[in-house]
Symmetry: C2
Subunit: 421 residues, 2 copies
Amino acid sequence: MTDFDDIPALMHNMGARARAATSQLAKAGTTQKNAALNAAAAALRASVPELLEANAKDVTFGEEKGLSAAMIDRLVLDESRIEAIAQGLEAIVALPDPVGDVLANWQRPNGLDISRVRVPLGVIGVIYESRPNVTVDAGSLCLKAGNAVILRGGSDALNTSKALHACMQAGLDHVGLPVDAVQLIDSPDRALVGAMLGHATGFDVIVPRGGKSLVERVQNESRVPVFAHLEGICHIYVDGGADVQMAAKIIANAKMRRPGVCGAVETVLIDKALAAKAADILGSVEAAGCTLKVDPIIAATLPDAERASDEDWSTEYLAPILSVAAVDGLDGALDHIERYGSGHTESIITESADTANAFLKRCDSAIVMHNASTQFADGGEFGMGAEIGIATGRMHARGPVGLEQLTSFQYQVRGTGQTRP
Amino acid sequence: MTDFDDIPALMHNMGARARAATSQLAKAGTTQKNAALNAAAAALRASVPELLEANAKDVTFGEEKGLSAAMIDRLVLDESRIEAIAQGLEAIVALPDPVGDVLANWQRPNGLDISRVRVPLGVIGVIYESRPNVTVDAGSLCLKAGNAVILRGGSDALNTSKALHACMQAGLDHVGLPVDAVQLIDSPDRALVGAMLGHATGFDVIVPRGGKSLVERVQNESRVPVFAHLEGICHIYVDGGADVQMAAKIIANAKMRRPGVCGAVETVLIDKALAAKAADILGSVEAAGCTLKVDPIIAATLPDAERASDEDWSTEYLAPILSVAAVDGLDGALDHIERYGSGHTESIITESADTANAFLKRCDSAIVMHNASTQFADGGEFGMGAEIGIATGRMHARGPVGLEQLTSFQYQVRGTGQTRP
């Protein structure tokens, strides 16, 4: 039984076991890691009754607690969702193993041969909320890159997470890898999150997966580097040189394909030169059911639209609502984005290659786009396979965080007896 | 006049001005940044009398305070040292500008073109001790990579640092770049260091340059990511398959070339199979004036050598002292390094390519070497030009931290109207 009374000691113990597991993981080849993931998928498929039983406990408890229907839906597992989680494991098996990749190689005049080689990052902490599949998705992504991971799921899904975690450990055990490579914090005590965030030497990075309040807490309290984005206040700038039809089509997609994802556009900036065409630019997104909140200049051509308040420019709606402002060309757009943006994803619509290049060069966000929907801000769409999240920090990982971003590197120097003069 | 009474407000103000400078720096091209560095070099050469006068104040104060001769030597400037600092600026002008480099480029099946492009890292804090040249060396390296930098030098060199900093700002001003791009904290108050370390949103990274106690404080207190190494407890493992003469030559160089640098070897591990040849392996380093501290097995062949205590294995001597242990082959060497090493630099001496490859793969240090002196652990020797230090962390930068490691990246996505299905 775990002793939850001495939380710092518990966290140090888990961290030390995770760190010890990393040396075995570093030695493990791709074949062994993939075998563990496949064995975990098999264990999931063989454990459907146990998984459903554990999940039923969480669902019952959640209903008694009065969780919203949306939250219950996030929590609930059925056979097809379990099969999807198992297939997710197999998708990670199919991804190339980044460990051992030679990132660069060069020779020095004295004959030394220097390589920069990918190695695992180390110990990763993942803090998430009520989606139990994160236990497997994040755990397997970290493992494939050779890392140990300590998972801290939401208390509402604790029984389900424990059952899923048991399958992951069964997979590790099946191939002789240490089960400490994937650990789950088996308690709903919120103090454990604080202990994770404060354990600067235990974790190499913490990844929060969840809503703004979780990410905010992690960013504010963590002594450990964090891969995260707090908000996705994404902009589309419709330049004076834009193809208006293309702009309309991209805006409708960027907002309405899935209004609740972090890459959904929240504010459209229209070059004043095109303000008279606002109705054409915004027609598609409005027809798709989006509410517009517009500034006075845009209101001149869209008199029925709701007026935006100052607060709208810094609001991530995550809903079918779009704020719209007229700006003074490229400089005006960049000023607005610098002032209100969250550094996530911005796109310019224009037929001018020069203006597009200036926007891409001068806009300081993790992802900048030309003539494309902001909903492409996603590791899968970038061709990275799975992602653990999107980062707006500037250190190590930025944009979609996939397998490669979950690695570090080392320098390997090969000589023939060289000494330094 | 600066108000040093409200330290958090002062630090936030400096941070905000540095952040504001970054947008102008991001727009500045290589030519303008280089012109600023050349103008700073010219300002240094034109300010020799003022620099010597400021430096004389620090030296007098240091002597009154009773600083050691070594510390005074570190502090003192003369015409040739000022010329060397100016030439250091010109050497950074000569380095390629990493900003704008396309790190990767690929196309997606839907026609999207994705590039990963280097951009400046942002705002860098540098905390250093009594070497006033760091004001210029670190400031110019950060600037060349498009970053704003806030410098906090040691109080013993404050007048000199201020005079050097004035030349850097003259260079910026000369070419129309914001002087806030290179700021100096103009007060010896140690609370300002705490304010830097606690200002999580103000700095993207902190680089401590100095002794172990400074680095330790920064690592323990910082809420900001840190590029640093606490110690360089570097190992050379002499494998059973080593060329004994090569081992002797490399060990002598790795210790005695400069015993005080972080890449100097501190412990030699000798395969038990070669223990009888310890005298041959260690003869050169001993002849060069190094004191040996040996374990019982090595003592059998070197009976006159001092015995090592347990503490020796985790001691960074930074002096002509070397600890020597016999180990059970490669596994024994790796176990010893994992237990006592600091993750900096380790080298294996062997003629066996297989054993060398196993060592390079399994040894988890920032730099691992085969048949080469650990004193090559240096950005210049790696061909990176100047370095701001060596990092043993696993995030973002590892090993020598040069211009490229002082950058971040962004994704630039070019489309032709794509929307996400």
